[in-house]
Symmetry: C2
Subunit: 479 residues, 2 copies
């Protein structure tokens, strides 16, 4: 038996013994070399063998993951969306607000929440940074930094881009009060009322609301829960409809969890560049990848200043601090001007606090811990869904972020499900929230960002039962 | 000689000796009673005598002020505006941004600035409140208060309304990231693109920009530098044009400094109620009155939830903290929803800091000091303008806030003046910034919020000379 065969056999045994569980990431090539004292080639060959056996799978730029066992894998992935009409006015329902209000019940299990478990944020450490920053901060800065905002933070943000291999100019960064205003400002910079904008299907409800508020038409394009928007269909839309902009989430899309592979991002940017259509890239989950390597942003492929990359610290560090930004390419000046007229600037003290936290070097270790927690929690939630949801359920298996997308048979009504679950103290995010035309009524988004506990498992069991009640066994499974 | 005659004579002598200077406020009736040991009736009679002699004047609900001496009073007030067309699309010029950028030069004299002198803010004290608040704050609040924001702050804001005699329900208050987003959200709550909105003429440039961004038409209504918008003309507009909303500054309007008398506010609300047209009341300067009695808000007369009252702590306490709100009447829920989709919430730590500062009782003493400083500074600036600006200049004499409005003869070009002043290290705010149709080219706004110094006086002398150069003595004076 060769070195790599023996390594592969040991790993297979470890998987069988449950030491590595479905969804777990295997050690990186480098880690494995160090642990086992073998060459990278040996590790590669061992992993290749396991992959060929169906025990593990490679996720591009992310690592190797343990596959669900055959018994676990019975639930397939959701099908790609097929939006119907080529462009419509947006009229979001009150439903979004009713649901959002109900998600704030502290007592329940917030599987419909847009945020991770607050215990996963380094809130105490951040508070110390704020106090320290305020001690150091020249009080005049709280007056004189209006706008453009705290310059130390700007430089720290630029540094993070550099770490990810993207060199930007300081003038491109517009600091905002979280990513939400950045997205709105970018949309305002490149559209006028009546224009059409490409969005994913399903899409983050804030995009729908932003389009509605500005009087824009939505062109929903088919989106797959693995690799994101369908570039072929996007190309057709660009030819025929001349949209004013695209608004996409390239990394761990909300709600699907899809990750556009880096080469696809490159193609996307090339396609948009040919048509000179700006991209609003909502990338608030990009730091929450699995494995060792961060996915790139579409922005990193942009040579024409056509991509407005929007991100924040709200999903990873502290939502309540409201610190975000956009790297807005050639639209940066216009975005900064719009900001001046609508927001003036972000809150200087919290910007200074985040800048201090970043300077002190706490962010990367925190992110590493957070990524591990989220990977474990997702594996646990997906495992529970596999065990407790009825045949006919489909579930996405994202490579990052903290949402999974579930698709049921057509007779399931996700809004009914939402109210029934709420009555049992569990929230979910029903599919129609994510559609301009009340689609995805048989889909839900679940938050996998809550720390795993018996309470969370019980909540999943309850939702599974509620789904089963709406989806009787007699109905034929679609696969 | 009676008691009141003797008191009047003493005051007249004090004025003649320069102990009270033009623009100074005389002691309030109460203060005078205490100081002099006389009855209110005696003080009233003494003030009445002085008023009859033209030495002082009464400002409604504000107190008694020393009149300019005959030699000083040579410059009259600006004429009320007479906007031409009944409603136009807004297309603000790049000028606004160029000018705003240039106002940030720390080295120059910022007479064009929208802010007061930073030394007038209690920045150090506020920083202590922030540090103390962060020590006390449950870190979870930075997650769980999204939205609606910090509840202690909400209650403190409600308390301030109560102090001013206005009882509101907590559900009416929407906390925002400064007053700017509040104004935008209110506008979005009650208009749709294509609607017409009533604004003052001249008006704050942010209103112009907000209308432009939302695709609204502006109906400019004649506005007087003493008492604000012309209600007769407004009534005509309401009859004929059915605007979707009015956006007005009732207290110390920017740029005119006009103060709508309280009875006029009552009439305004009655008029708008008859037509069921919502009022967006921008009241960020209301706390900066002269004298003892705060002017009321239009909101305080509102019984139908038709007034959306927007205010902040940015003009009085700390611009960089970005803490503001709207009391949005029957539109509050809609505004809160729009906020959820665009801002989520204000920064929780700075909200907590301001709440702690208010709780500690520091705000009212600070406001009293600030009002006195602003009154003194305005008297000094107006005096210098009277001395150093040429015949043909008109200047407003506001009863609060920190702007004065200057009108020159038609041949003066305020934009040329702006660039010439900038070259000399002095900024001014040229009139066309405040117009949807490039009007007020012969007007400027001066900031009287800078601490009085030789440097400020020199700056006013320079501007006066630049104006004189454009307005040769040979030209006939219009009055």
């Amino acid at each position: 038996m060769t070195l790599y065969e023996s390594y592969a056999r040991d790993l297979a045994e470890a998987i069988a013994a449950g030491l590595f569980r479905p969804g777990d990431r295997l050690p990186s090539i480098r880690e494995a070399c160090r642990q086992r004292g073998v060459s990278p080639a040996t590790v590669f060959k061992a992993y290749y063998l396991l992959e060929a056996d169906g025990l593990i799978r490679a996720a591009p730029r992310s690592g190797y993951y343990v596959n669900p066992r055959p018994a676990d894998r019975r639930l397939p992935e959701p099908k790609p969306s097929r939006p119907r009409a080529p462009g419509i006015s947006v009229d979001t329902q009150d439903l979004i607000y009713d649901i959002h209000a109900s998600l704030k019940q502290r007592s329940g299990v917030p599987l419909g929440s847009p945020f991770i478990d607050p215990t996963l944020f380094p809130l105490e450490r951040l508070r110390q940074s704020l106090v320290a920053a305020m001690r150091r901060l020249d009080p005049w800065r709280t007056v004189e930094d209006l706008p453009p905002g705290n310059r130390t933070l700007k430089r720290q943000v630029l540094k993070r881009y550099l770490v990810h291999g993207t060199k930007l100019d300081e003038s491109e960064i517009v600091l905002t009060h979280g990513a939400l205003p950045a997205l709105h400002l970018c949309l305002a910079a490149v559209t006028k009322p009546g224009d059409a904008v490409v969005i994913e299907s399903p899409t983050f409800y804030v995009a729908l609301q932003a389009l509605q508020r500005r009087g824009l038409k939505a062109i929903e394009v088919a989106t797959d829960c693995r690799e994101g928007i369908d570039l072929g269909r996007l190309a057709q839309v660009l030819e025929k409809r001349r949209p004013a902009a695209c608004w996409l989430m390239t990394n761990f899309q909300n709600p699907l969890g899809s990750l556009m592979p880096d080469r696809k991002k490159r193609d996307l940017v090339a396609l948009l560049t040919r048509h000179d259509v700006p991209l609003i890239e909502d990338d608030v989950y990009g730091e929450l990848y699995r494995g060792d390597t961060a996915p790139r942003s579409a922005k990193s492929f942009d040579r024409r200043g056509l991509v407005m990359h929007c991100a924040s610290f709200s999903k990873t560090l502290a939502p309540g601090y409201r610190v975000g930004w956009t790297a807005a390419g050639r639209f940066a000046e216009q975005v900064e001007r719009l900001k001046l007229m609508t927001l003036l600037t972000g809150a200087i003290p919290t910007q200074a606090a985040v800048a201090a936290y970043l300077q002190d070097g706490g962010y990367d270790p925190h992110l590493r811990r957070l990524r591990r927690s989220l990977a474990d929690q997702q594996a646990a939630v997906v495992g529970a869904v596999q065990r407790h949801f009825p045949e006919g359920t489909r579930v996405s298996l994202p490579q990052g972020g903290y949402f999974i997308w579930l698709e049921f048979e057509k007779q399931v009504d996700a809004v009914d499900l939402f109210w029934a679950a709420t009555a049992q103290g569990v929230s979910i995010a029903p599919g129609p929230m994510f559609s301009a035309r009340d689609e995805f009524r048989h889909c839900i988004r679940l938050n996998t960002g809550q720390v795993w506990s018996r309470k969370v498992e019980d909540a999943i069991v309850r939702i599974g039962r509620l789904v089963a009640r709406q989806m009787p066994r007699s109905s034929p499974s679609p696969h």
